[in-house]
């Protein structure tokens, strides 16, 4: 592997000040992700997974440390440049879908291209293609409240894909879905990964993390494990449930 990693995180730290107290949401996190990887980020609630995703997604800026994506030194960018970086390099998928309720599926998917200055016609074509690729060709003119949870998340994934970003970020994309639908969504991510998309996916379900080639475990804002998904997932299996013979974290 001589190629530079797609993202490179070094010593990333994010502090929050709550009243008098300082919360280390992220505490010296370092790792690289190569192009074409599918990485799960796991950890207990409050371990810093969302904080990490927001930093990698250029929605937030770190207290210290450095972060590069696709050759951009993110900490050196202005607010406008961060917006453009999100537009060009990142595709977000959220737990709560975050679709615009008054707009149709098609309009929702077109939105990132509006902010990129793509012509109307091209926008339409790309959005249709993206919706087709997630299997929603026949739901384009529906509004979010006319769609099921799984369908909404597919629209959100189409929106994340439409601009051909270099990285897909998904923060608990199955968190608001029943397990069968969640399973479908994870399968969709797997398919996208096979087509070459780089994916960073937050989940607290070891079962899903276990299916990723690689997983990173966070605890109290620190990376405590980074390795094949199956291994890392089993490491942090919650004390009570599934049938794993994992060692305690």
């Amino acid at each position: 592997m001589t190629e530079a990693p797609l993202i490179s995180v070094e010593n990333l730290t994010r502090l929050y000040t709550v009243g008098e107290e300082e919360v280390r949401a992220l505490d010296g996190v370092s790792f690289d992700v190569q192009r074409g990887e599918w990485v799960a980020v796991v950890g207990q609630s409050g371990s810093g997974k969302s904080t990490l995703m927001n930093l990698i997604g250029a929605l937030d800026t770190p207290t210290s440390g450095s972060y590069r994506i696709n050759g951009h030194d993110v900490e050196k960018l202005s607010d406008d440049e961060l917006a453009d970086l999100r537009n060009n390099e990142i595709g977000f998928v959220f737990q709560t879908f975050q679709l615009l309720s008054r707009s149709t599926a098609l309009a929702n998917v077109e939105l990132p291209l509006v902010y990129r200055g793509v012509s109307r016609k091209e926008r339409r074509e790309l959005a249709v293609k993206a919706l087709e690729s997630v299997g929603l060709a026949n739901r384009m003119h529906h509004r979010p409240n006319e769609l099921s949870g799984g369908q909404r998340q597919r629209v959100a994934i189409a929106r994340a894909l439409v601009g051909s970003p270099s990285l897909l970020l998904a923060d608990e994309p199955t968190g608001n879905l029943d397990s069968a639908t969640g399973e479908e969504i994870i399968r969709l991510f797997g398919e996208l990964n096979r087509h070459g998309h780089t994916i960073l996916l937050v989940t607290h379900e070891p079962r899903l993390a276990a299916r990723c080639p690689r997983a990173i475990r966070l605890s109290d804002g620190k990376v405590v494990a980074d390795g094949p998904g199956a291994e890392v997932a089993s490491l942090g299996a919650p004390p009570a449930p599934p049938p794993h013979a994992g060692a305690a974290a």
Binding site: R86, L100, L111
Partner: protein, 415 residues
């Protein structure tokens, strides 16, 4: 090119979002724009009425000659509490009239004007209080207007002090009900109990600031003196060639000072009155009305603007997550700012358009139900809409700024 296309696409998106938001919250849109509607309609109505007044006033003022000086002992238009300054001045008399007639080279026509109120009667009809004027054949030259039937006074009427009278249309209408004005010519009427022959009927002049101008009977100046006495003061109307009014005034001043024996160094004890002084007074009056319109407009626009600001703040608050989503997908701060500015400008423009329509409607209604006239000028319409749009922009700045500066992470997490 790409930047331009992006800006254009964002602008269109801004309009799309704005129209969606406005239609989506119809009641709120209505309430928001109510302040603007009331403000703009008030201003538009006042302005339309003033502009209507302007037109009718300009028509009314024509009875005073545009190039004529009216020499009187006091100015007709006085500022507050100055009447006592003029009270003790000598009347204008025949002596000054003669001096002006003799010495002025510029004067085109010189006519004395004396007046009183007297009874005019014919058959069983008695008009109690008609404005009776005494003058000469030169009166019409100085004052404009004309006769619609018969003739005006002629030199012979004046030199022989004939009992000849020219009547205004109000007098004719009442003395000769149902007859054409020409029917009055040649008939006999009684003025202050004396028999007079009607030689002509004046054209209708309407009213000036509510005073009727057609309730008049004009007779030769010597005849007037014979009946009503020669001791009352007169006004001398002196017409100048067009554009020479100021020159005429400089010429007449020393003539009048000599005739009235004003000591050197003492101020003039007479005044020149002109049509444009009425115009000036009128402008002052309407200026005050305009001022009121502007005051009312400003206050209501500010109130309306604050309404818009509040509603926009609520809208920003409600759409916090939407803003977060847009920021996550690549919208810059400026994009969000413009989006909300478009929205508040659009609400305000809508209110301005409705307000303009309502205001013009009210003005038309006032014109229908009262003697006032109303005029709708394109400039008023453009002004109304432009002004309210500007209000929307100004009062939209703070909410839009708040929206643009939301933290994307916080905004996305907002419940």
């Amino acid at each position: 090119m790409k930047r331009l296309r992006r800006a254009w696409a964002e602008l269109l998106e801004g309009f799309r979002i704005a129209s969606g938001a406005l239609v989506g919250a119809r009641l709120r849109t209505f309430l928001t724009t109510l302040g603007i509607v009331i403000g703009v309609s008030t201003v538009i109505a006042i302005v339309a009425i003033i502009q209507g007044l302007d037109r009718s006033f300009e028509a009314q003022i024509q009875f005073l000659g545009a190039h004529t000086l009216y020499v009187d002992r006091a100015p007709w238009i006085q500022s507050d509490n100055t009447w006592w300054m003029y009270r003790n001045r000598k009347k204008i008399t025949l002596e000054e009239l003669r001096a002006v007639q003799r010495e002025s080279r510029l004067a085109v026509s010189v006519a004395p004007m004396v007046g009183t109120r007297a009874k005019v009667a014919r058959g069983g009809v008695e008009l109690e209080s008609v404005n009776v004027r005494g003058t000469t054949e030169e009166y019409l030259e100085a004052n404009g207007g004309g006769v619609q039937a018969g003739r005006f006074l002629v030199t012979g009427d004046v030199e022989l002090a004939r009992n000849a009278v020219v009547l205004g249309t109000d007098v004719v209408d009442r003395l000769f009900p149902g007859e054409a004005p020409s029917a009055a010519v040649g008939k006999k009427v009684l003025v202050a109990g004396r028999p007079f022959q009607v030689v002509g009927v004046l054209e209708r002049q309407g009213q000036l600031l509510g005073m009727p101008l057609d309730n008049v009977a004009v007779m030769p100046y010597p005849t007037f003196g014979r009946i009503f006495g020669t001791q009352r003061g007169m006004v001398i109307s002196v017409a100048a060639p067009p554009g020479k009014v100021a020159e005429l005034e400089s010429e007449l001043t020393p003539i009048l000072r000599r005739a009235r024996r004003v000591m050197p160094g003492k101020p003039d004890d007479f005044a020149f009155n002109r049509q444009d002084q009425f115009l000036k007074l009128y402008k002052q009056l309407t200026g005050a009305l305009y001022g009121m319109a502007v005051g009312v407009g400003l206050i209501t626009l500010i109130v309306g603007g604050i309404g818009i600001m509040n509603i926009m703040l609520v809208s920003v608050h409600e759409r916090t997550r939407e803003i977060g989503v847009r920021r996550a997908l690549g919208a810059r701060r400026s994009t969000i700012l413009i989006q909300f500015l478009i929205e508040s400008a659009a609400v305000a423009a809508l209110g301005g358009a409705v307000g303009t329509a309502v205001g013009l409607g009210v003005a038309q209604l006032v014109a229908l139900l009262s003697p006032l006239a109303a005029a709708a000028t394109p400039s008023a319409i453009i002004f109304g809409i432009a002004f309210s749009t500007a209000t929307g922009l100004v009062f939209g700045i703070w909410p839009a700024w708040r929206a643009a500066n939301l933290d994307p992470v916080e905004a996305l997490r907002y419940e």
